[in-house]
């Protein structure tokens, strides 16, 4: 049942230019930061690319997910879905999974960069692995937020802007640290998406970070399900 829903979503992505635009632009941007750190700093590591990723994905993920629920509501196909024997959470989950699959495919293509590092230098494989895991979890969290934003409205532009704003807010928590008193700093750090991601780009895989990302995903997907449930027929 969810497989059928996911298949439909993937069809929307891959039978339209969307998936290809996302993959190629993503590779172009990451390629730029990868090569500039490789040739300018002359270090065989992904640090330069990883630093910019939270910002790059901030634009990509709301763009990929803005259509997901907003369009169903706009075209009223949500009525079709919700009069079939499926639950709201199954719809939200299928939207999420399909965007995660698209993102996963994109990441697979970008593995070209670390593979290149392997060939020309001796990078730390552990750091690369944990960075990619972090990148994946970060992207998934942005997708969950994007889907939540898409559940707020039937207007894709509003979905994009609200998704972007929420992600920006979560992102800015780490910047807030600098201006706050010390006792708030540790608390903020616990909630900042960037600090958890930074840990992973440094090669640290801790349960806390992973649990943080999972909880963040569950939180926004649950909120999206709730919105879908309460806003039927409006």
């Amino acid at each position: 049942m969810i497989a059928a829903l996911v298949k439909k979503e993937l069809r929307h992505y891959f039978f339209s230019p969307l998936a290809y635009v996302v993959i190629s632009i993503f590779l172009a941007i990451t390629g730029w930061f990868f090569t500039s750190s490789l040739f300018i700093i002359k270090e065989s590591e992904l640090r330069g690319m990883m630093e910019i990723m939270p910002l790059v994905l901030m634009f990509f993920m709301p763009a990929v997910t803005m259509k997901s629920l907003a369009e169903e509501r706009k075209l009223d196909t949500i009525q079709l879905l919700l009069t079939m024997p499926i639950r709201e959470w199954q719809i939200v989950l299928s939207k999420y999974l399909s965007a995660v699959i698209l993102y996963g495919v994109t990441l697979l293509f970008s593995l070209f960069y670390p593979l290149l590092l392997k060939i020309i230098g001796r990078p730390d494989s552990g750091v690369i692995f944990s960075s990619y895991l972090g990148l994946f979890l970060l992207g998934c969290s942005y997708i969950a937020i994007g889907i939540f934003a898409s559940a707020l409205t039937s207007n894709q532009v509003i979905a994009f802007i609200s998704g972007f704003s929420i992600i920006f807010g979560v992102f800015m928590l780490s910047r807030l640290q600098m201006i706050l008193p010390v006792r708030f700093q540790t608390a903020i750090e616990k909630f900042s998406i960037v600090s958890h991601f930074d840990n992973m780009t440094r090669g640290i895989i801790s349960t806390t970070d992973i649990v943080y990302f999972i909880l963040l995903n569950i939180l926004f997907l649950t909120a999206a399900t709730y919105l879908l449930y309460t806003r039927r027929g409006r």
């Binding site: 069809r11 075209l75 009223d76 919700l82 009069t83």
Partner: protein, 304 residues
């Protein structure tokens, strides 16, 4: 069996449905008739489990929609108003998607074939839905609704926006489906109910103003006979046939309207009466009061 008990739905101060109760027996083809905004769509959306009522309950086959929506949704095929479909899928992919989501895994191909044949969309099965005409889309919507062979079909304005030929086709299709399924359809077009349904529920301002078999509804309303004749005999001479009303009189040319008492059809007697009295009969015809007029009568009181 669909049972609806004192259903109410409020949107803020607006009472979209205001205490509707009815029972639909298996095999009936029931038309919800009412002007736009009467509460037909809301009632249907409650039965299909899409929205929850503010008060009251709806049961499908004895199952409460509010407590077991998934069970109810399995039994219902639903064509939403405006037939929203996924424009970028082909007809086949769309039907396959619906079949899979509805849990027809192994035999989905056979189900798609059967539904496509029943709705006459086999020749467009590989076309993208976005490129189809309104008539074909409507049929794709119907195919989607019957793909799991549900005992109940709920069709919200199935013929809106179609041309007369398409309307006739969709009506035939609904009639055929109505032979084995319980069908509820909504419309604001009266002839539709007359042609496809065997029972009509007239909804107006969120309430039921009439609920009866079509024939009975019409039987309760009398017909009139219009007679136009030339002659010196005054209109009152016809009073033996019923209540007489003079519509127009120009010299010796009379146009009168007779409302006969009871069920009889006195046209032949009126003709003979005219011949016997040497009146030149120019026109003689009976006007069945249309559902249109009945509908106007039923809804007028509410607005006053």
């Amino acid at each position: 069996m669909i049972t609806v008990r004192s259903l109410k739905k409020h949107y803020g101060p607006v009472r979209a449905v205001d205490g509707i109760s009815f029972e639909i027996r298996p095999g009936e083809v029931v038309g919800f008739l009412g002007p736009n905004g009467a509460g037909k769509t809301t009632t249907m959306q409650i039965i299909t489990g899409y929205i929850e009522p503010s008060e009251g309950e709806a049961l499908v086959d004895g199952i409460d929609v509010a407590s077991q929506p998934i069970e109810v949704k399995r039994k219902i095929g639903y064509l939403p108003e405006n037939t929203s479909l996924y424009e970028d899928l082909t007809v086949f992919d769309f039907l396959e998607f619906v079949a899979r989501v509805r849990g027809l895994n192994g035999n989905s191909r056979a189900a798609i074939k059967k539904a496509a044949e029943a709705c006459g969309i086999t020749e467009v099965i590989n076309r993208t839905i976005g490129t189809l005409s309104k008539g074909y889309r409507q049929r794709v919507g119907l195919a989607q609704a019957i793909i799991h062979d549900p005992p109940f079909l709920i069709l919200d304005e199935p013929t809106t926006g179609l041309d007369p030929i398409q309307i006739a086709e969709i009506r035939d299709l609904i009639k055929r489906l109505g032979r084995e399924k319980t069908v509820v359809l909504s419309t604001h077009i009266l002839p539709e109910v007359e042609q496809t349904c065997n029972r009509v529920i007239v909804i107006h301002q969120g309430r039921i103003v009439a609920d009866s078999p079509i024939d009975e509804l019409r039987k309760g309303m009398s017909s009139t006979i219009e007679v136009e004749y030339r002659g010196q005999t005054p209109a009152e001479a016809f009073s033996g046939f019923g209540r007489v009303e003079v519509v127009r009189k120009e010299g010796d040319l009379h146009l009168i309207r007779i409302t006969p008492e009871g069920e009889g059809d006195p046209r032949e007697e009126i003709y003979r009466f005219c011949v016997e009295n040497d009146l030149q009969l120019r026109e003689l015809h009976r006007e069945m009061k249309s559902l249109e007029a009945i509908f106007r009568e039923l809804t007028r009181g509410e607005e006053a």
